[in-house]
């Protein structure tokens, strides 16, 4: 006969094992980041000797150097500018399109929607080659506009999918009421549908912001001028120039990573929601 004590001990041990497991993985997740931030406050001399996560002395000179001599302030502004423009563009265009797919009847509606969705599923790994040629032809290569338009196109399918699924579940009575009150179609979209879709719009904003901020490939093939580059591209170039200056490099990386971590921590509930929604409909 097993006593209550046996069961209790068993449960406590099991919980302990689970926590140990989860905790060890969590430490592995955080360690490289803490290490990166810590190293950015060290100097070239101390970085290989002082391996602690909390540096004995905080040297801010790396950040000063990164911003003053390596132009990191400029890249930061570029990244912010691209991210904000692309996200605004996607929100505006995809919400209109999703609303139209959900509520308006027009010829070819289903086919166009299927094509959008297919774009989400079918991988074309070499498409950046053709995009490069196209932007050259349109004289949009090495311009912010070219980059912004490409990135908008990248985010459209997913955003339209999320928003359309939401608009489909929106009760029609709301719109009928607005129509009776004399609202136009655009008016209904602006005053009824958009405010109603705010939670989904948040998901769209967060996902696209992460995506644009972290984008590298298109930035690589589109930009030649240093002044136009976003952070991800700049930090790679930076490595080529200061290969062995690890503290400076880590300061650059921290500038690149910190904004996105802050946004993530503030908005993480929308990310969980977005994943759940995108996967389970």
């Amino acid at each position: 006969m097993k006593s209550a004590f046996y069961y209790k001990t068993k449960k406590v041990t099991l919980n302990l094992v689970i926590h140990l497991f989860l905790l060890s993985v969590a430490v592995t997740c955080l360690y490289p980041l803490l290490w990166m931030v810590a190293s950015s406050f060290k100097t070239q001399e101390t970085i290989f000797r002082d391996i602690s996560l909390i540096p004995r002395q905080l040297h801010f000179q790396n950040y000063y150097l990164a911003v003053s001599e390596s132009n990191f302030g400029r890249y930061l502004i570029n990244s912010i500018f691209y991210t904000v423009s692309v996200v605004l563009g996607i929100v505006f265009i995809s919400s209109l399109a999703a609303y139209a797919f959900s509520r308006l009847r027009f010829p070819g509606r289903n086919i166009i929607f299927i094509v959008f969705m297919a774009a989400m599923m079918i991988p074309i790994p070499g498409s950046f080659v053709a995009l490069f040629v196209l932007l050259n032809k349109l004289h949009l290569r090495n311009t912010p506009l070219g980059y912004i338009l490409c990135m908008i196109s990248v985010g459209l399918s997913m955003s339209i999918f999320l928003l359309k699924t939401f608009f489909d579940t929106m009760p029609r009575e709301l719109e009928d009421a607005a129509r009776i009150d004399g609202c136009s179609k655009i008016g209904i979209y602006r005053h009824v549908a958009l405010p109603f879709a705010r939670p989904v719009l948040a998901v769209v904003v967060v996902f696209n912001a992460l995506n644009v901020w972290n984008e590298y490939v298109l930035a690589l093939i589109i930009f030649d001028s240093k002044n136009l580059m976003p952070l991800q591209r700049a930090v790679m170039m930076f490595r080529g120039e200061f290969l062995t200056n690890y503290p400076l490099l880590m300061a650059g990386l921290t500038i690149t990573a910190l904004p996105i971590i802050i946004v993530y921590l503030l908005m993480q509930k929308y990310i969980v929601k977005g994943v759940t929604q995108a996967v389970f409909g």
Partner: protein, 282 residues
């Protein structure tokens, strides 16, 4: 509606068609004329290009590790988090930090941690303190360990996605099923095998599809992690495509490689998808 279709057509459909067009031609990206050469590019890829197949094998190896190690870890973590434990949310937030970071940041930070032979290399330090100094090496430069190291860092970055999807999947399983089985005397292992696992198979296959698609096309992490990516032992397909375009100006051939890889991926995804359909019917 119209702007969406316009942007989409110009920046997605047109390139899509051009990739196919270019793949049938021999073009350096500058000359106004493209010479049509039929399927010659594809013949070259399939029969002559050893380095292409090497890169596919490398990507396949990374994918294999991601499919097994990364997804098993993700599933275990999700399973551990899908119960009444403290700090559940804390873990969830932490596990998704690597996926929100860019591949550039992850690659460079890890390179700094594991590549130097002496100095800051944490793994080598641990090996020395465990009395195994003969295992100390430059993990990313040594051809023997480079690819595995890349695969492990890739898994580190990627497991958070699987974790989140598995967790969402587990939460859709009604608790009553588990309770009923418990009342009937099924032990934890039995409940896991007879209830959790069968219900999770569609989700597992979905994660597998996403893993294959993501990993086979991954390359930014490798660029930022390894210095000489084209040395062969860590080269992957998309890196080769990029190099063909930027360094050798073989636009047509690059597109043909893209299509070959795309076709391989579509076939694999389709196979996985039909597998999941079969399970759903059972």
């Amino acid at each position: 509606m119209l702007p969406a279709v316009a942007i989409f057509c110009i920046f997605y459909i047109v390139p899509f068609i051009w990739v196919f067009q270019l793949s049938l031609s021999d073009w350096d990206g500058i000359l106004p004329t493209k010479s049509f050469i039929g399927l010659d590019n594809f013949k070259e890829i399939i029969f002559q290009d050893a380095s292409w197949w090497q890169s596919i094998r490398n990507a396949g190896y990374i994918t294999l590790i991601a499919l097994t190690l990364q997804n098993a870890l993700a599933f275990l973590l999700a399973w551990a988090c899908d119960r009444e434990i403290r700090a559940k949310n804390f873990y969830r937030v932490i596990f998704f930090i690597p996926p929100v970071l860019s591949e550039i940041v992850v690659g460079m930070a890890w390179r700094f941690i594991i590549n130097d032979v002496d100095g800051a290399n944490i793994i080598n330090r641990m090996l020395v303190s465990m009395g195994l100094p003969q295992l100390v090496r430059s993990w990313l430069s040594d051809p023997k360990t480079a690819l595995t190291t890349v695969a492990l860092v890739h898994s580190w970055k990627g497991f958070g996605w699987g974790f989140l999807i598995f967790l969402a999947g587990l939460q859709t399983i009604p608790r009553e099923l588990d309770e009923a089985a418990r009342v009937d005397g099924a032990n934890a292992w039995h409940r896991f095998r007879k209830i959790t696992l069968p219900l999770m198979i569609p989700v597992i296959i979905l994660v597998a599809i996403l893993t294959v698609l993501g990993t086979m096309q991954a390359f930014v992490l490798i660029t930022s992690l390894v210095q000489s990516e084209l040395a062969g032992h860590t080269s992957v397909p998309v890196l080769r495509i990029l190099a063909l375009m930027r360094d050798s100006s073989r636009f047509g051939y690059a597109c043909a490689q893209g299509i070959t890889l795309g076709a391989i991926l579509v076939i694999i995804s389709f196979m996985q998808y039909s597998l999941s359909k079969r399970y759903r019917q059972v």
